[in-house]
Amino acid sequence: MNSIIFTAGARLLVALVFVFSLFMLLRGHHLPGGGFIGGLLGAVAFIIYSLACGPEETRKALRLSPESIAVIGLGIALLAGLFSFFMGDPFFTGQWYWVGGDSYETSVFSINTVLVFDIGVYLVVLGGILSLTFAFEEEA
């Protein structure tokens, strides 16, 4: 697509949408959002970029190939499950660690496997959709 306005606007838009996707991912536990929605939004961001600057540029911007991102995401999700397994709980039981307190109410923030799992979901959705899109775009 050879539109200067679109190309210039896309750069801004991509950054905004991408940050928004991370925001949606992180707030998902309490408010609408989460890994799926975040991943879809992230994919939208890079698809915009790809439409503006071409898939080759987008691949460079991503650094990793989308297939690898998806596989890494699945691995991260699996790690979240395995962790609870090694802690002696049933597979995929959420593990919570409180920082600055001993319960949800008193702590400053928490480290938990549920978010790790959601990050895995985010990466799989992002990588999966982008690999499809690139495959279509690059098919000459």
Binding site: H29, V44, L51, E67, A70, G73, W96, V114, V121, G128
Partner: protein, 756 residues
């Protein structure tokens, strides 16, 4: 022959000697159970496997399984050592050793398993490993074909067997053989006849009873050690083992007696004649194995002490001498380059040890005293005299044993002492790893014959007790049983056998002429397979057209028909419709969706259709928003967006819609679309009419914050309560993406090639 090794190749490899050593250790391990089992106390191990289905890995060592276990590990160790030398330097020897060792373990599992399902699994494992071993020379199409034939035949029997086992388990309430045999006979019960036929189908295919015998001689395409091990001493006896194992539960009915007697006897006599007809010594031995299997089945028809003792004694002696003879033939083949009975002769001076081992095995086979084979034959005649179908069984046994005598002469006497023919190369004595097996097995045949009491007490009588389901009185296995009818029959056998041996050349020619006129079951097998392949091709061409439109049509048509049938037969009354309370906005959304739909149907541009479809999706997302499901709405919106983008990328590369082509299919497609849409709406309305069960909602509403520290219930369900489901879903996303990626990449590569 290609299967032979280079005599100077190194043979002391880990895969050869290692497997042999492990097998030998297993042999010693089982040997220690001999006194316990002989004293009448079987050993049982239980490992829970699928306890909810009553499937356990239970192992049961009684007289019968111990005898088999000792034969499998003992002969196994010798054969593996033999094979290490026989196939030394073969590029795929390691693979061979793996197959052979896996087979040994499967077979061991088969005879030790106490659970019927476990037994079936091991049964099929022996089928698979046997397939790999028969097809070991995989470059040879004949070898592949014979392997497939054995696999298909025995696996079909295996399926029948599984059905039989399940029937037994369901009707008797247990899958444990030890409980089954203890609880008495199934004869006269409701499913007895069906169970019997199914189990016999499995046993007869595995143990190659006429008319399902033809795979066994073909299986000789395998290297000689395999023939010695699987197709004489162990695997083919699995069917016999099964009959012996189920003997307490299934035997005694007229059906059992008639079927086993007739099939066994016909197999034994037919195979003996066929053995005489062959000139390839390996083929001769293959048919004598068939004869042995027939004889064993025939004697298992009976339930008297002598009949069962005959079966068990003959089983033992046959395993010893037949494995020995196969190995001997392998040595001869190795040394002279031929297995032709017409050429071989005068090898005794060049191969004295082989000659002696062959003589020991041959004398046991011919049933000459004081070898164990003689005792087996005596007991067999005594058993035949006790059988219900004595008038049929006894003459058949006599003919088969007389022919065996003659064949023993052809296999074990003539190559060494007969006139020497024109050999491909000068004979030499075999190396010791190959000689060890035949010598040990030959010596055992003689030793057991000289000391029948030991063989009887430790091996035969415990096995007989296991088959009969009651302690054995013993005392039947004797070298000298006095002047009686069996002895007289033995003498007649020798005389008849000697006569046949003297005349075997002319007999062979006559048999060859008869065989040429007889129907060839092996060729019919190919015809049957051809029919199957043609049927498969025909129906694939009919169903798998490769036209996406037809697949979609069929899928939706099936959906519509099944939903329609269910609605007509199950649903009472229609849904209640009420348009009251609908706001202006809801009417607006409905209108948006409708307009989008109409546009999709009417447009002739793909892109327009796509965008219109996107409008429909956005309308649906708006519905989610009005009913306060923001998560679903956001997802729906984003997915719609991405679908439009992805499809647009794909559609840009496709040609314009051809109006005439659309017209041609539009009428049936429209009907189907209306039907599916209408039915789905109808079903949804019916569903909404039902009172809503809020139990799950209440649980998640209550537990989401307390247990999972999240206020967004949808997300908490996705990443905490139902994490495993989500994990499965993202795995599917990944697999789908990778699959599409590879497909598109493949298309690109194919296009690239075309351009070049």
């Amino acid at each position: 022959m290609a299967e032979h090794s280079d005599p100077n190749a190194p043979w002391k490899t880990l895969s050869g000697l290692g497997t042999s050593a492990v097998t030998a250790l297993l042999f010693l391990f089982f040997l220690q159970y001999l006194p316990t089992v002989a004293a009448g106390s079987p050993v049982r191990w239980v490992i829970p496997w699928i306890p909810s289905l009553d499937v356990n890995l239970t192992f049961w060592i009684d007289g019968l399984s111990l005898m088999f276990a000792l034969l499998i590990t003992g002969i196994g160790a010798l054969v593996m050592l033999y094979a290490a030398k026989y196939l030394a330097g073969h590029p795929q020897y390691d693979r061979f050793a793996l197959y052979l060792f896996s087979f040994m373990l499967s077979m061991l599992g088969l005879v030790l398993a106490d659970n019927l399902i476990a037994l079936f699994v091991f049964w099929e494992l022996t089928t698979f490993t046997s397939y790999l071993l028969i097809g070991f020379s995989h470059a040879d199409p004949k070898s592949r074909r014979n392997a497939l034939q054995a696999l298909l035949l025995t696996a079909t029997g295996g399926l029948a067997l599984l059905a039989g086992f399940i029937l037994i388990g369901v009707s008797q309430g247990t899958f444990e053989l030890s409980e089954l045999t203890a609880s008495g006979s199934l004869v006269g019960q409701e499913y007895y006849t069906l169970i019997l036929f199914l189990v016999l189908a499995g046993a007869f295919t595995k143990s190659a009873q006429v008319p399902l015998h033809f795979w066994l001689p073909n299986a000789m395409a395998a290297p000689t050690p395999v023939s010695a091990y699987l197709h004489s001493a162990t695997m083919v006896k699995a069917g016999v083992y099964l009959l012996a194992r189920t003997h307490p539960a299934l035997s005694g009915s007229d059906l059992w007696i008639w079927i086993l007697s007739i099939f066994g006897a016909v197999t034994a006599v037919f195979a003996s004649f066929m053995a005489l007809r062959q000139t390839d010594l390996k083929q001769t031995l293959a048919y004598t194995t068939l004869m042995a299997l027939g004889t064993l089945v025939m004697f298992l028809a009976g339930s008297t002490g002598y009949a069962i003792t005959a079966a068990m004694t003959f089983l033992l002696v046959h395993s010893l001498y037949k494995a020995g003879l196969f190995l001997t033939i392998g040595i001869i083949d190795h040394a002279t380059g031929t297995r032709d009975a017409n050429i071989l002769g005068g090898l005794k001076s060049a191969m004295p040890i082989t000659a002696m081992a062959a003589a020991a095995a041959g004398l046991a086979m011919a049933g000459i005293p004081p070898f164990l084979g003689f005792i087996a034959k005596e007991v067999a005649y005594a058993g035949a005299l006790e059988m219900q179908l004595m008038l049929f069984v006894l003459p058949m046994a006599l003919i088969a044993f007389a022919l065996m005598f003659a064949v023993a002469g052809i296999v074990a006497y003539k190559p060494f002492y007969g006139p020497q023919g024109d050999l491909p190369h000068a004979p030499h004595e075999g190396p010791w790893p190959m000689l060890l097996g035949p010598v040990v097995l030959g010596v055992l045949g003689l030793a057991f014959g000289l000391m029948p009491g030991i063989a009887a007490y430790y091996i035969i009588e415990p096995a007989v007790a296991a088959v009969m389901g009651a302690p054995d009185t013993g005392g039947r296995v004797k070298l000298w049983a006095g002047f009686n009818l069996p002895l007289l029959l033995s003498l007649i056998t020798f005389a008849l056998g000697f006569l046949i041996y003297a005349k075997h050349q002319s007999l062979r020619e006559r048999l060859a002429r008869i065989e040429a006129r007889a129907p060839d079951l092996d060729a019919r097998w190919d015809d049957i397979l051809d029919i199957f392949v043609r049927f498969a091709k025909g129906q694939t061409g009919l169903i798998q057209t490769g036209v996406l439109r037809q697949y979609m049509f069929a899928t939706f048509a099936v959906f519509a028909v099944t939903v329609l049938v269910t609605l007509v037969t199950r649903a009472a009354g229609g849904p209640s419709l009420s348009f009251a309370g609908l706001q202006f906005m809801e009417w607006g959304i409905a209108l948006l969706i409708l307009v989008g739909t109409v546009l999709v149907v009417l447009t002739s541009s793909r892109i327009t259709a796509l965008v219109a479809l996107g409008t429909v999706g956005i309308g649906v997302a708006l519905i989610f928003i009005t009913y306060s499901a923001p998560d679903v709405a956001i997802t729906q919106l984003l997915v719609e967006l991405l679908v439009v983008v992805l499809l647009a990328l794909a559609l840009l590369k496709m040609p314009h819609l051809d109006p005439s082509g659309v017209q041609k299919h539009s009428f049936p497609n429209a009907i189907l679309a209306l039907l599916v849409g209408g039915l789905t709406t109808w079903v949804l309305l019916l569903v909404v009419d039902q009172p809503f069960d809020r139990r799950l909602t209440e649980f998640f509403e209550g537990a989401s914050w307390v247990e999972a520290f999240g206020r967004n219930i949808v997300n908490v369900i996705l990443v905490d309560f139902r994490t495993l489901d989500t994990f499965g879903e993202i795995a599917v996303v990944l697999i789908a993406a990778l699959g599409a990626f590879v497909l598109l990449k493949g298309m690109r590569a194919a296009k690239g090639e075309e351009k070049e």
